[in-house]
């Protein structure tokens, strides 16, 4: 065999060795060294387990096995992270449901995950018809009437979308198709104020007032969909004010700046943290209050607090995750307050709990749910 032919063969053999060696060697390498690497689960779901083959699972077994294989592929987490970093740091955009805005701000593409309509709202494209406004008002009035019959106050609390409060950081390409700065939320608030006596706390107004006076103090996380503790305090103050409880304005409270490098929007890209971005949050001194009893502090479940020195009213809140940030600010103020997430709510809860105050708390991107949903017993 000539030297040239030998050289060719060796090169070709090396191709095979590297190709098959990489494919087969990766799991072996991972078996020994994978544990040392980051394998944290940012997906917020249980990973697929190895399925069991049985008569019942024969037809679904391939799909189940493949899901398990995909979830457990060596270095999967690292590969997803690399992809996310490439998108975030090179292409300057998010993956999946995250939007990369200006100056490191991240926003949520809720329509893409069927989790609300925030982008349509931002563009002014989400509108209620006259009929929908009437239905929403009727539904809320039914809740109020139930409350009135049971000697209970009723308040509707709407937490604004981050995209509305920090619209100046939204990517420019959304602006060319933006037809209005108002949307169905503004329609609804105006309609309810004009046609019903439902008590509404539209936290946007209070937040914007603070933001205009303190432009350097962010009220929302850069890397998360939620407001931070400063934004949450302002929202809490607005709600408490509606309930006749006065707490000092945020600027008069002692608070420390604390930095964070993570957030749910970053985690949606499987980027647990990115060193170049530091997010700002505030730790309010005196919270959780010493005289507040923490009965349950499960941010994924029901929250319950008691303060024997607080307002004697018992409060029940139908809540979403924005209430997590408000929990200590509100918890301190009442003899008893329970905040139950939507996923765990049962419509007979108000009847069982017998609150003095019922609050329907929701984030702006879910306002169209108000057309059909109600939270009181049938």
């Amino acid at each position: 065999m000539s030297n040239n032919v030998k050289k060719l063969d060796i090169r070709l053999i090396l191709v095979h060795i590297s190709f098959w060696g990489f494919i087969l060697g990766l799991p072996v390498f991972y078996h020994f060294f994978g544990a040392a690497l980051d394998s944290a689960n940012y997906e917020n779901r249980f990973m697929n387990e190895k399925p069991v083959l049985s008569k019942e699972t024969v037809s679904s077994y391939p799909t189940l096995y493949e899901n398990y294989y995909n979830d457990n592929y060596p270095f999967r987490n690292k590969m997803i992270m690399l992809n996310g970093r490439f998108s975030y740091q090179v292409l300057k955009e998010g993956t999946g449901y995250s939007i990369v805005g200006k100056d490191g701000w991240l926003f949520y593409k809720s329509e893409a995950s069927a989790d609300g309509i925030n982008i349509s709202q931002y563009k002014g494209r989400a509108e209620f018809s006259e009929m929908e406004l009437k239905f929403a008002a009727k539904s809320l009035m039914n809740t109020k009437e139930w409350c009135d019959e049971h000697g209970c106050e009723f308040v509707l609390f709407i937490a604004p979308n981050k995209e509305r409060v920090y619209s100046e950081y939204m990517p420019g390409y959304y602006n060319s198709s933006r037809v209005s700065e108002t949307c169905n939320t503004d329609q609804l608030v105006e309609y309810l104020r004009e046609n019903t006596d439902i008590r509404i706390v539209w936290a946007y107004e209070d937040l914007m007032e603070y933001k205009e006076d303190h432009p350097d103090e962010p009220l929302y996380y850069h890397l998360d969909t939620h407001w931070n503790y400063l934004g949450g305090y302002i929202g809490s103050r607005a709600l408490l004010s509606e309930l006749g409880i006065d707490i000092p304005p945020a600027e008069e409270r002692e608070k420390n700046i604390r930095n964070t490098t993570t957030g749910d929007l970053l985690m949606l890209m499987n980027l647990g943290s990115v060193e170049s971005v530091v997010d700002v949050d505030y730790a309010f001194q005196g919270y959780p209050a010493e005289n507040m009893e923490i009965v349950s502090d499960n941010v994924n479940g029901a929250l319950m607090y008691r303060n024997p020195d607080g307002d004697p009213r018992k409060v029940l809140i139908y809540r979403d995750s924005f209430c997590n940030i408000m929990r200590f600010f509100l918890g301190e103020q009442f003899s008893e307050i329970s905040m139950v997430p939507h996923e765990l709510w049962e419509n007979d809860l108000p009847e069982i709990y017998q609150p003095d105050v019922l609050v329907y708390e929701l984030t702006e991107r879910f306002v169209d749910d108000l057309v059909t949903e109600h939270i009181q017993p049938y």
Binding site: H16, S18, W20, I23, N44, M79, G172, Y173, S321
Partner: protein
Amino acid sequence: MLFSSLIFITAFLPVVFIGSRILRKNKYVNVFLLIASLFFYAWGEPVYVLLMLLSVIVNYFAGIIMDRFRDKSKLILVLDIIFNLGLLGFFKYFSYATVVMNVYLHIPVPTFGIPLPIGISFFTFQIMSYIIDLYRKKFPVQKNIINLGLYISFFPQLIAGPIVRYEDVNEQLANRVVTIEKSTEGIRRFILGLGKKVIIANIVAEAADHIYSLDPSVMSAQTVWTASILYTLQIYYDFSGYSDMAIGLGKMFGFDFLENFNYPYMSKSITEFWRRWHISLGTWFREYLYIPLGGNRKGKVRAYVNLMIVFFLTGFWHGAGFTFIFWGIYHGIFRVIEKLGFSKILDKCKPLAWIYAFFVVNLGWVFFRVEGLKNAFVIVGKMFTPGLDRYYSFGELVSHRCLLAMILGILGCGLIQIIPEKIPAVKKAVHNPYVQYVWCAFVFLISLILLASNTYNPFIYFRF
């Protein structure tokens, strides 16, 4: 099981390749590959793998009987074709036929959905090429059921082609040699096909699918044109990428399959397009339909009629729906127009000819993609209606990643390939084995990262 899946690339393929190399002798390898192919099919179709086995057995015996009773060969051919087309017709078209009868003809018949076996259009045509060419005595009957079974069910081309005619692989079934050069070329081809699918097709598909899922009322002309270009890229890179993977896989196991695509978007006529697009299908229809109908040997008018029949059935083969039939006829009309003399005009100005061909093909894909002929016409109408409300901006619909994929896709349609042909130094560099190695390694790693990322399914709240 998809070629572009982690489980195929990192589990199935290495096991099958290494197993085949250990066995070495074709007669053992063929058994192994047949089992592997049936396993591959069963992975996606646990029940319909029995249909595949039935098809193998019936066609095997049809061939044996045809060979034994040559005087009855035409009858056996007809019966076998009825069997094969009957299976295809039942599984692919029966459900739609009941819908047509109920909705359009107002004939009440019970409707029920029949799940479509993956790849039935491909392997049915493949089987028919065997039996028809056997009838034509192009080769001796295949008495080894393993070899015939392998020809019908071989996993590289089972799901999405190319449609391999039996006469092209007959010798290779028993007498192929897996050389290291061929298997290395196979790896290269597979990786490049994988890259086409994962790096370009899947990314543009996400944007195309999103746009086509929108209500037509929110689509502006810009939106629709964006979707049409995206889909034009998607279907090419998806299909040709899959064909590349199939050809590469074939080479890894010693088979040489014919090319299925030849830069179709560089065509300067629809006639040329069909010589470059899904070549195996065009060849099949020419061999087994157009020529038996008389081709162009029975006068011009008959030739045009034959062409229209071929294109009608080409559309019909692609799917059970009026949009596919319309798409086929649409292409047929342009073929006939070119035959009537338009091609002479096209020959006078190549740039304009290219624009014409691309425009016709691009527009045709809208009918291919959209569900419902009425919807397709609405969307096509929007393409030529300026001034509509831009509900979505370009940046919203096409991410930077997608834009990058689009640019790569447009360049890779045949434009960038011109450079090495014009500049010898570039050609030398491109063909340098070390450059090829690094390039393939890069494409493979990126593809793997994207495949892993596609399995990422996060929720903003914890899902219990």
